[in-house]
């Protein structure tokens, strides 16, 4: 049978992601590197879509591409004008890069090996009862027939609801802790990045900080 489009799509997006990731490390300008990373993230978001994690896919773009990377770009753009390249880039020794690549290969082998050892699950296998999500269970129990494509599609359409429900029930505490962490990070970032002691800030006027 011919190669399915999903695999083709996967190959295309994954290939772009890997190429962009490697480019991120090899391009001269930090801004280009950041853009490469944005690209990787968008590719990943598309892969998330293919994995039916719709909510996460969109969150990935909103948070990573839309906020985190914009912040990166802000900072980079303050430091580097368009023509400039990363000054510290030149001083990296060749042996370091070679060693790092060897290490990366080992790491890749180890991780892939661990993934392989922990087993490969095919989607064509039907999930066991223990594997089903909380939403799938009642459906599976009420109907004698296995989950049809349609019911599973219906369930997948509920993805944001499911994730949301889980976040606000079972994982409420981690969720709230995360919000606390965000608050702390916000305060910390403001304190760290503040230009100077308040005495000087007073003379600079209010508009300088906008």
């Amino acid at each position: 049978m011919a190669i399915s489009f999903e695999i083709v799509f996967f190959g295309v997006f994954a290939g772009i992601a890997v190429i962009l990731a490697i480019m991120m490390l090899s391009v001269k300008s930090p801004v280009h590197a950041a853009l490469c990373l944005v690209g990787v993230m968008i590719m990943l978001a598309i892969l998330y879509l293919m994995l039916h994690a719709y909510f996460l896919s969109v969150v990935q773009i909103v948070v990573y591409a839309g906020a985190v990377m914009v912040l990166f770009l802000f900072v980079i753009m303050f430091f580097y004008s368009p023509g400039a390249s990363d000054p510290s880039r030149m001083s990296v020794h060749f042996t370091h890069i070679a060693g790092a690549i060897i290490l990366a290969v080992i790491l890749l082998a180890v991780i892939t090996g661990s993934f392989l050892l922990s087993g490969n699950v095919s989607l064509t296998e039907k999930p066991s009862a223990a594997q089903m999500t909380d939403i799938e269970k009642p459906i599976a129990e009420t109907s004698e027939a296995p989950l049809t494509e349609e019911t599973s599609r219906m369930i997948e359409k509920q993805n944001p609801q499911l994730v949301g429900r889980m976040l606000f029930t079972k994982y409420l505490l981690p969720f709230e802790l995360t919000s606390l962490l965000l608050l702390a990070a916000m305060v910390g970032a403001v304190v760290l990045a503040r230009r100077s002691p308040p005495a000087e800030a007073g003379s600079a006027g209010g508009d300088g900080n906008d």
């Binding site: 490390l25 930090p30 590197a33 994690a53 996460l56 001083s91 490969n120 889980m166």
Partner: protein, 102 residues
């Protein structure tokens, strides 16, 4: 409908993670190191979501969600540190910030 083997996704995640790790080690610019870390985090997220999909385990997406949030917090603080570092050192090089050595 032929599904993509899970192994493909996990391999992609491993590959991205490794590239990120290399970036962390090779790069001297803290911003690029940071971006490499973000890449590693993304790779982890990918594996979470892969498992979520293939093991019918919605928690994977929840973990990924929390991870994204934490990464955002981390970036906010980290970039603030980099900005502060730049202000004090007038250059952006983590090796120059090896104050701990003394």
């Amino acid at each position: 409908m032929t599904d993509v083997p899970m192994f493909y996704y996990t391999t992609l995640a491993a590959l991205l993670f490794s590239i990120g790790a290399v970036g962390v080690i090779v790069k001297r610019n803290p911003i690029l190191i940071f971006m490499s870390i973000e890449l590693m985090l993304n790779a982890v997220n990918l594996s979470f979501i892969t498992y979520s999909r293939y093991l019918h385990f919605l928690e994977g997406q929840v973990y990924a969600f929390l991870l994204i949030t934490v990464a955002a917090a981390e970036v906010a603080v980290g970039l603030a540190i980099i900005v502060a570092l730049f202000r004090s050192k007038r250059e952006v090089d983590v090796d120059a910030a090896s104050l701990m050595k003394e």
